[in-house]
């Protein structure tokens, strides 16, 4: 396995997509095509990415570990970390343009759009993870606790895990 090409494939996948599983189709095509990964590696990596801390996009670190050991995990981490730096260019550009009311209205629209994007994505996730009344109650409880802004996120997650243990662990 050529580590430079390996790194480039991960870098390319991250460079042309945004977060989450966006880089999945590219990595899937390239790594399966070269015989460097199996279907099962992808399934495992996606599952781990859902559970592990940090952004969901870190699933490809898991894929790196499965296909190339610790070196693969390190290369994948680096490949994920570099392309996001491009955002600083946009931020610099934005800082210079910010005085204009048109630009301010434009970024206001971006903010509204971001909230709009969240809704169908969350709904899609809800359809696959909330499968019964217990799950719906946990989601509603977490929503309420989060909105109160008094309960640390880790406490919400621990409580939810405990509820899962009580509901589904028997």
């Amino acid at each position: 396995m050529n580590w430079l090409l390996y790194f480039w494939l991960f870098l390319k996948a991250s460079l042309f997509t945004t977060g989450g599983l966006g880089n999945l189709p590219l990595l899937h095509q390239d790594l399966i095509g070269l015989g460097w990964a199996r279907e099962a590696d992808f399934l495992t990596a996606i599952a781990v990415g859902q559970v592990s801390p940090g952004p969901n996009g870190l699933w490809s670190v898991s894929l790196g570990y499965l296909t190339y050991g610790w070196a693969g995990a390190a290369l994948a981490t680096l490949a994920l970390s570099l392309p996001p730096l491009l955002v600083l260019l946009v931020a610099g550009f934005y800082a210079r343009m910010q005085g204009s009311p048109r630009v301010q209205d434009f970024t206001r629209g971006l903010s509204l759009g971001v909230v709009g994007l969240t809704l169908p994505v969350t709904l899609g996730l809800a359809l696959s993870t909330v499968t019964d009344w217990g799950g719906a109650a946990i989601a509603a409880g977490a929503l309420g606790l989060a909105l109160s802004k008094r309960v640390p996120v880790i406490v919400i997650l621990v409580l939810a895990g405990l509820a899962g243990f009580l509901l589904y662990g028997g």
Binding site: L15, V51, L66, L80, P84, V87, A95, R108, I138, V153
Partner: protein
């Protein structure tokens, strides 16, 4: 929260809090990433709370930064982290925040991959995860609400027509995303363009002068 929301340049010291040290930034993000089990929603919420509590960004600045983080390639949460680091301490801040976020989480992700065969089989672990996953849905919804509120509070001060514009753009973005015809980045750019065009047609109601200062909710 003081009213200093005018950022004349991108890299500007946060009002009130002073510039945090690089080690402080690094350990803040290490601690935050270690608590963020269950994926992006909890990471996002933790970053949001940290920014607000430490006075690094106010509500509106945070949403604006998050929006900016969506329009270039790569993991959105990482871009958010980069923007926060850059704003607080320039390149050193970027290095401190990104390494603080990525090193522990990547390490744990690799370790969990190594142990996954053991974990996956365990029904108790499955039960716990079955509880954690719906909670992340609740966290996502809470974040969406918290991001929407300041935008609509501002529109309400500017008059009902601007509230309609805001609601319309939000709904249109949600519908376009749900349909999946075009990429999310394109949806965002359209939302921005549409808002700029519509708000140019709908002037803001004149602001009552003294209310402005108290608006940081």
């Amino acid at each position: 929260m003081s009213a200093g929301r005018r950022d004349s340049a991108w890299q500007v010291a946060p009002t009130g809090a002073g510039r945090p040290g690089l080690w402080d930034l690094f350990f803040t993000f290490v601690l935050l990433s270690l608590q963020s089990f269950g994926g992006g929603a909890s990471t996002f919420m933790l970053i949001n709370r940290t920014c607000l509590q430490r006075g690094w960004l106010d509500d509106q600045e945070f949403v604006r930064t998050w929006a900016l983080a969506q329009v270039t390639p790569g993991i959105n949460l990482l871009k958010l982290t980069i923007l926060i680091g850059s704003r607080l301490r320039g390149w050193g801040g970027v290095a401190a925040c990104v390494s603080g976020l990525m090193i522990p989480t990547a390490l744990i992700t690799a370790l969990m991959t190594a142990g996954f065969a053991l974990i996956r089989a365990n029904p108790l672990v499955q039960a716990v995860m079955k509880g954690v996953m719906p909670a992340t849905i609740g966290l996502s919804l809470a974040m969406a609400l918290q991001m929407a509120l300041p935008l609509f509070a501002r529109a309400r001060r500017e008059g009902p027509a601007r509230v309609s514009v805001s609601a319309g753009v939000l709904a249109a973005a949600a519908a376009l995303m749900a349909l999946g015809w075009i990429s999310p980045v394109l949806v965002l750019l359209l939302s921005g363009g549409l808002t700029a065009a519509l708000l140019a047609l709908v002037p803001a109601r004149p602001q009552p002068a003294p209310r402005e200062q108290g608006g940081g909710q």
